[in-house]
Symmetry: D2
Subunit: 223 residues, 4 copies
């Protein structure tokens, strides 16, 4: 085989590989806690994203996976990321965590120290990036929907969200700032300053409006 023929073969091979890449489904994992665990249920935010892709006729281009486990904190994600994320070889991972890191301080005595939250969060991101995954950070939305910052964990949720925002900015990562958008939504749509019933049905987990809201916010980040 002469060198010209070799070159041509290589060229065609490359085209083939490229076309193969082009055909390859984009694999997206939502990595999180109970909110994400419930997101795969019918009407859940992940289910809504899938339905939307079907409606748009692009469902074949994506593989959407929910990897949420109830009660998870950032170090739970760290402990199970190898199996539940890295071995799945996703293209994109949304990391949505923080509610339990803050909440479990008062409900179980086992919340996550602010500085450890950052350390484990960074370890999770770096390990994903080392595998070439595109990482999108999501701030914890709410524990209580009152809009005057009088929900018990508001201070901590703001603090931990500030860390996530800064980390995303410093490292040019995608960010879905649900903490901010939930607050703004409540300011606009919760005139009685209720504790729940706006985007959640129990102060934390999403109701129908909440799932639609989150599905839309999430998808904006990759469009």
């Amino acid at each position: 085989m002469n060198s010209k023929l070799l070159l041509l073969t290589a060229f065609i091979g490359c085209l083939f590989l490229l076309s193969f890449r082009g055909d390859k489904k984009k694999k997206i994992i939502f990595f999180g806690d109970s909110i994400t665990q419930m997101g795969v249920n019918k009407g859940g935010y992940i289910d809504l994203i899938k339905q939307d892709l079907v409606n748009k006729g692009v469902a074949d281009n994506y593989e959407i996976i929910g990897a949420g486990i109830g009660g998870n904190k950032i170090y739970d994600l760290f402990l199970r990321m190898d199996k539940d994320v890295l071995e799945q070889h996703p293209d994109i991972v949304y990391i949505w965590v923080g509610v339990n890191d803050v909440w479990h301080k008062s409900s179980m005595g086992t919340g996550t120290d602010y500085d450890k939250f950052g350390k484990f969060y960074e370890a999770v991101v770096k390990k994903m990036q080392a595998q070439g995954i595109s990482v999108i950070l999501v701030t914890p939305a709410a524990i209580g929907e009152r809009n005057d910052f009088s929900n018990e964990q508001d201070g901590d949720l703001n603090l931990y969200s500030n860390w996530i925002r800064k980390y995303a900015a410093d490292n040019s990562l995608g960010l879905v700032d649900l903490r901010k958008s939930f607050h703004e939504y409540s300011v606009a749509n919760n005139p009685k300053n209720n504790d729940w019933g706006i985007l959640t049905n129990d102060r934390v987990h999403l109701n129908a409006k909440g799932n639609a809201f989150v599905a839309a916010e999430m998808w904006k980040a990759i469009k």
Copy 2:
């Protein structure tokens, strides 16, 4: 003694009693936690109020007492109010409490339930009012001075302060809203969003500026 003479005697007696009341020093008790306990120290907010009365030449008209004990929550005030307040027969009592009710949730596991906070607070106020004391409520100022509601206990401090504000309004009681004024002061004077060093020296206890600030705010309420 005819009835006219009787009336005259009664009238003179009333005048005498009124003049006696007029001569009587006004007794004011600041009832609270460690912040108030430190308030009686040289340069503390209670000490500054006393100095101010001396400077104005009206020190003889007032008796100013600090009744603060470190770590006190509302039910500590309830338990010691008979001895430390009622038996002192004050004219005016400032109730400044709430920091430990919120803080001890995470630092000791023994904070005060929101609903019990209200129950004990009301019991304290009602018992003082039954003795004819004029009660002035004070909201808990701060645990951390960041001004974007990202201090860990901000949510709870806002919630418990909301209760105090509503109770003061519903019952036409005096209110010194330090929670509000500290926040506004930090928004105006804490451009780096520091955790402490603005009006406190440790996130909670007053520095020199804080003591002057509180002394002024407190005194406004009875002027």
Copy 3:
């Protein structure tokens, strides 16, 4: 009426009053938390005590009342004792509290400080005694049934129970030491060192055996 007749009348009157007292039902209140609240249900420990009195044909001699409210700590009992106990004019009151004082430290951040537990406990007892009520103290039985003191709250339950034991001894009060008897029962009947299923069905609330056990232990204290 001569003096002899007067004396006789008085004597008969006394007999009548005594007989009236003798006829009077003995009123017993069980004052406590969710365990007592569930105790009035069919098969609950209070229900079993009532059934037992019926079986023995002495039901007419007693009025048995359950006054338990879920989640109650010692200061909840203090806050509602006037209405739920004193106004009922019982002869005997069992005070069974402590589980939530300890448990809520980690589950809500609002447990009861050890020293405040004693202060409110004493206030409750003294106010009942001032009304002539016979008070019987009951130690908190269990949060978890492992018998090697490896249940999370064992240390605190032992500490708070020690206080109750000492207070009962110092003041010659009746004591039902369920903490001690539950532990001994578990040592004898829980060879696998299980967390629940011996006398409780969830580490805290009584199963059928637990209700029978408590009913018997309680009744011993007044026989």
Copy 4:
């Protein structure tokens, strides 16, 4: 070179290597929290071990390192083990942790879940073993020295110590059961059931007797 000569050379080389190994100091790291951090101070348990080696004339055989940091929990050890242990290439590592995992539940709201304690503990041990390190486990000694299991954290300390004991047994690891030996020492030497002052000077950190006691217990495990 004939085969006999080759064999001889190899034999001499082996002897040389063996003698080299024999000359090599045994490197021992104590890996832990504030108790270990203070252990390197004059009179601390690590300092006492070093002095003892000097007195016995074998100080040259050992390199003793303290790697304790105040407030550390098991996942802090996990996060810093690469730098503070693995890169030091020790022969033996004592892992002494657990007090803060339990204590921080009530003092900071950020204790370690029981199941995560095991997961991180195992991760630490496995990573050390993968490098050929000999690991010795140490149970958390005490938070409070009362000997009737009435110290607030006794239940959890017993539970977490049970995990360590079982893990050591299941994996044939060395164990220094300070939890057990401290309790036995208090039963024998603390007749007044004091909270501190027996082997600690503040319920947790070692006094002079405590340092001597721990130094002796630790060293037993490698003799």
